[in-house]
């Protein structure tokens, strides 16, 4: 039993996100609408066996795909606080509580420390299911702490982005996380510790406009949505339809903002190669 089994466990325990996760033994692809067995999907690295659609993964699933088995999580004790007393239709504490219940996570980012092909790596990965992967104080602090950990131990850092952007309920605090994370990354760069930015579907807003675009290497999975403004906002601004393939990873590669796109089946090997070369 290798990681296939664990991936399978992962998919079963995370079926709360019904749109993405297969129900029972069958998986119906949201893209090509074809049905496959769950076993085939899992063995295909969580991609649709018919059209190669990359299913959105959780942080834990990425850790399982990338790390050599064993890893430890770091900075789990940080949890969000409602500093502003923010209430819209729901109060922020209620939103946090609901997200915690739904995901069994403490926030939209989990940091893992492990090895990839026997080389150490710290991965800070986001969970889109936790308030849209939004960046607030906790995510900013986890990134800052990860950077300091990597500086201290001279271990490369990888951030897996999957986020709608900054967390509105923390207003300017979440905005300042853009400055905070970028400033901390400048320290990592100065000390010559590599930083890989892996942008996955979707990566938008303040996350893209800060650490996600600042990798020594920027890369992505096929057909991921990556952008600054969301497609709907752009459409409303320019009052015309967006071109086919706009803001996909292929589009970003073509315009010079990504180094490469990697199929998920080659992900671990590619990261291992990078680590061996840096």
């Amino acid at each position: 039993m290798g990681w296939f089994k664990r991936l399978k466990d992962g998919i079963i325990t995370s079926t709360k996100d019904k749109k993405e996760a297969p129900d029972g033994l069958w998986y119906k692809c949201g893209k090509c609408k074809e049905t496959s067995t769950q076993k085939d999907v899992v063995e295909n690295f969580y991609k649709c066996p018919k059209c190669n659609y990359h299913i959105r993964l959780t942080s834990a699933q990425y850790f399982e795909v990338i790390f050599d088995g064993k890893y430890e999580t770091l900075f789990d004790d940080l949890i969000s606080k409602d500093i502003l007393g923010f209430t819209d239709l729901k109060s922020y504490p209620d939103r946090l509580e609901a997200a915690r219940k739904k995901t069994d996570l403490t926030d939209a980012m989990t940091v893992g420390h492990g090895k990839v092909n026997r080389k150490p790596l710290v991965i800070a990965a986001m969970d889109f299911t936790f308030i849209g992967g939004s960046m607030g104080s906790v995510m900013g602090e986890k990134i800052a702490k990860s950077i300091d950990f990597c500086r201290e131990n001279k271990i490369p850092l990888m951030i897996i982005s999957k986020s709608g952007g900054a967390r509105m309920m923390e207003s300017a605090f979440s905005l300042m996380q853009m400055a905070k994370t970028s400033a901390k990354l400048s320290q990592l760069a100065k000390e010559g510790v590599p930083y890989f930015s892996f942008m996955t579907d979707p990566t938008t807003g303040g996350v893209t406009a800060s650490f996600a675009m600042l990798g020594d290497i920027n890369f992505s999975e096929p057909e991921a949505l990556i952008g600054f403004a969301g497609p709907r906002v752009i459409k409303e601004t320019i009052k015309q339809e967006l071109p086919e393939g706009f803001q996909t990873s292929e589009f970003l590669l073509e315009h010079g903002f990504l180094d490469f796109i990697v199929d998920r089946k080659d992900l671990k090997e590619r990261i291992g190669d990078l680590l061996a070369m840096f």
Partner: protein, 329 residues
């Protein structure tokens, strides 16, 4: 004069004042007492209004059509200002301006968002919404400042970075991110001031500095109250509630220690006495630059990064293994 809705009581007082002045001019009745009385009334009424502004009212003031914009401040502060154009890659963005100026003998590099003063100019300036080339022009000028050891002054006034098709093609996100990364390590002092709207990534894209100020009637937030209302309340009608919830005023920002100070505006806001507003801002900028120039560049950079590292609030919970360490079988 343009009066905002909450300034309406002032408008009728000003109308009365005009009428009395006209009477004074044509007749031989002495109206000076009446004028003094009205002027006093205006002063008190203005104070009553301006002492109790809501978040949304401050947002409206920050967008007041007669409010001074970056080039006004720069040209007033600096008798000699040479505007410099272009990012050297693509074009000259009109929504961000910059150049070399002078603050009473100290050469400085100015950068700032620029809005237009009339309908035609508002379009020309793209309503203060910059494209990637604007952020790259700003960075080029900051690098110029670094090379010649000149302090940088950045004036923030934008409803956001432009959400356009070409902006995405040319890397709006990368341009903003790059500025944040480079500004963190810039070896010369950076002083920023929000002089109008401080909306989101478009604002912070030229807003990372050793000291950051907000003028009294401005706002700074991750999102505009209107967009926040449309997303969280699913309607455009909750902008006032959103403005309150976002705690976007200068007072809140200072309380949260997300800015370093507030620059007072003349009574009635910067637009009621723009030259006065310039003087007040200039005084603060000169003071900040003098302070920052005392520091060694490395220490200044470290203090700058440390300041941003402290921004954020969270709780610590008892260590509980949410994700258990897994091992290979």
């Amino acid at each position: 004069m343009v009066f905002l809705e909450f300034e309406k009581p002032l408008e009728s007082l000003y109308q009365q004042l005009d009428k009395i002045r006209q009477v004074g001019e044509v007749g031989d009745i002495d109206v000076s007492d009446k004028i003094a009385e009205l002027e006093n009334k205006i002063k008190n009424e203005r104070k009553a209004i301006y002492d109790n502004l809501t978040g949304w009212q401050k947002v409206q003031l920050s967008r007041h059509p007669e409010r001074p914009y970056s080039l006004f401040y720069i040209n007033q502060m600096s008798k000699k200002f040479i505007e410099l154009h272009g990012d050297r890659y693509f074009k000259d963005d009109k929504a961000i301006v910059g150049g070399i100026g002078n603050l009473d003998g100290q050469s400085v590099v100015f950068i700032g968002h620029q809005k237009g003063v009339n309908t035609k100019m508002r379009q020309f300036r793209n309503f203060g919404m910059a494209n990637p080339e604007g952020y790259r022009k700003a960075l080029r000028l900051m690098k110029l400042a670094e090379r010649f050891n000149l302090p940088v002054i950045s004036l923030i006034d934008t409803p956001g970075a432009f959400p356009g098709l070409e902006a995405e093609e040319r890397g709006q996100a990368e341009a903003i991110a790059r500025n944040l990364f480079e500004m963190a390590q810039l070896r010369v002092p950076i002083v920023c001031a929000v002089i109008g709207e401080g909306a989101s990534g478009g604002a912070i894209g030229i807003g990372l500095g050793d000291q950051v100020f907000m003028m009294e009637n401005t706002w700074y937030s991750v999102i505009s109250p209107e967009s926040c209302s449309s997303i969280l309340w699913r309607s455009w009608d909750y902008k006032e509630q959103a403005a309150d919830a976002l705690k976007l005023t200068a007072d809140h920002m200072l309380e949260f220690k997300l800015i370093d100070g507030i620059v007072k505006e003349p009574p009635g806001g910067a637009h009621s006495a723009p030259e006065e507003a310039v003087k007040m801002l200039k005084k603060q900028l000169k003071k900040s630059i003098a302070e920052l120039q005392e520091m060694d560049p490395d220490a200044r950079i470290e203090a700058r990064i440390h300041k941003y590292s402290q921004m954020g609030h969270y709780d610590l919970m008892k260590k509980k293994a949410i994700v258990e360490t897994k091992s290979t079988e």
